[in-house]
């Protein structure tokens, strides 16, 4: 089963008879990058002059010890940092033409549509499996029973959940297992047609098998999405990362191709971290 919501799935998925039309125009060259980004929470600098560029259609892993600002950086991309009291952003974060740091409330909802999030712990909304996916679509103005039916099926297939839940689409999503819930969360994010996917240690709360399933999904999805992943597990990063950002105390210490960073780290701190000197 291949996933390809950008270009219709005629050639890839011959078994299905449904059609999902893109509701939103294809975002061609949305680049996500930061320039001199600093984030302060209650006056404390959490991120210091971060300059990164997220490569397209790759898995970018942000690694680093606890408290280095990985999650804050991730949550700056979709402005979820706003939920923290006393947060202050400086610098520039660009997503295509959107200036994320200076975006107003309406623009933020559009940015969040373009940048999906897969949470750390599976977090189904208090509604049915079907509604979990339809919810995001409705919010962004997609309606109509037939259309939603097709979208729900398409994205449940995309995360390999369709066959497991097709008979109980209208039962509460909370009845699913942890791994299934996490895949549902992924489907929920995909259904609003983002270009980027943020994953905040999205496999850390899952059992090894579910964790592997979700991980494999990310690898499949990078064909159509650019994925930014925060991970605590270096082994996971080694398995799936194409691009690596190593952070320490709110600064980007090293950034580059996965092979280069893991096998020939330039910076001493990176070497120490990869060597297990601290975690």
């Amino acid at each position: 089963m291949t996933i390809n919501p950008f270009h219709r799935n005629t050639e890839t998925d011959k078994t299905s008879t449904f059609v999902v039309d893109r509701k939103f125009p294809h975002p061609d060259n949305l680049r996500l990058s930061t320039h001199a980004l600093s984030v302060y929470i209650g006056g404390n600098p959490i991120l210091k002059l971060v300059n990164v560029e997220i490569p397209k259609n790759k898995i970018t892993c942000i690694i680093g010890p606890s408290g280095c600002g990985k999650t804050t950086l991730l949550r700056t991309f979709n402005r979820l940092v706003d939920t923290i009291e006393g947060v202050k952003l400086e610098g520039v974060v660009m997503l295509g033409d959107h200036d994320i740091v200076r975006a107003g409330a309406t623009e933020i909802t559009e940015i969040r549509r373009l940048i999906g999030l897969v949470p750390q712990r599976p977090c189904p909304l208090p509604m049915s499996i079907y509604e979990n996916i339809a919810y995001g679509c409705r919010i962004h103005g997609i309606s109509g029973r037939k259309k939603l039916d097709a979208i729900v099926e398409y994205y449940l297939r995309a995360v390999g959940l369709w066959d497991e839940v097709r008979d109980r689409l209208h039962t509460p999503a909370s009845k699913l297992s942890g791994g299934q819930q996490q895949r549902l969360c992924l489907a929920r994010s995909l259904a609003i047609e983002p270009s980027y996917l943020l994953a905040d240690e999205s496999t850390s709360a899952l059992d090894p098998i579910s964790s592997r399933t979700v991980e494999e999904l990310f690898v499949k999805l990078k064909k159509d999405y650019s994925i930014v992943m925060v991970t605590h597990t270096l082994r996971q990063a080694r398995r799936i990362a194409d691009h690596v950002i190593f952070m320490y105390l709110g600064e980007v210490i090293e950034e580059g191709d996965a092979d280069q960073v893991f096998n020939h780290p330039r910076h001493e701190l990176t070497q120490q971290y990869l060597g297990g000197a601290f975690s």
């Binding site: 979709n78 979820l80 009291e85 909802t109 969040r112 999906g116 949470p119 977090c123 509604m127 919810y135």
Partner: protein, 294 residues
Amino acid sequence: MNRRRLKDRIAGYSMFILTISSLLLVVAMGIGLYLKAAPILEEHSLWDLLSASEWKPMKNQFGFFPFLMGTLWVSALALIIAIPISLLTAIYLTEYAHSMVRRFVYPFLDILAGLPSVIYGVWGMLLIVPWVANVAAPWVGRNTTGYTVMACGIVLGVTVIPLLVSLFIEIFSNVSHELREATFALGATRWQTTKHVVLRKTAPGIIAAIVLAASRVMGETIAVIMVCGNLAIVPGSLLDACYPIPALIANNYGEMLSMPLYESALMFAAFILFFVVLVFNLFSRLVLKKVKTD
């Protein structure tokens, strides 16, 4: 060593006994009220008592229907006024307001919740009753003293708002932060999040809180006596006087000593109130507990 253990045991047991006795007190109250109400139940059938409208204790006529309807009318009106206001206030405070606002408003709400109800009653007499008499009633072409279902409902509604707001706030605060973030991350606005996720998640809790507030409203006495008009009639509109059950008991208990059946009738009224409030409370506590553990 042994002395320490002995003290510990004694402390444990005595506190246990005190706790149990406060529970037994409720049971004892229920039984006491029932026994006191028994004489009137022997003479009149339960249905007659509840459905008759004539309240003439001197003529041995005890119809509780006007009081039941009085309680029903003012409670319903109070809740209709209080629920939307409290719900929106709580939503504002938990979902929208800056923490500075919260820090300022929460203590204020606690003060309001702690105000003696007689103060709400005085405020009702000074402001609401004249407003009903001079503004609301003439506006629909009626003439009243102002001591009406309307005044009573408004005063009761205001009395119960702080309680409802703090219950709602507690319920909404129980919704996990992750859930809110999950819907924000999909691009939902705060209103969409509130409407589709927070309210849906907390629906059982909201109902329980409303039931709790309803039992509080039905039992409120002092503020009610001061503004309800105290006429044993079945109210036909918002601008009629009414006579809720707590007011009946509090107004008459002192003067009925010479008539055994009168006392029994009032105890019967108290028993109805006790029973309804107890059932409401238990129900809502159970639901609230379930909401919290989920």
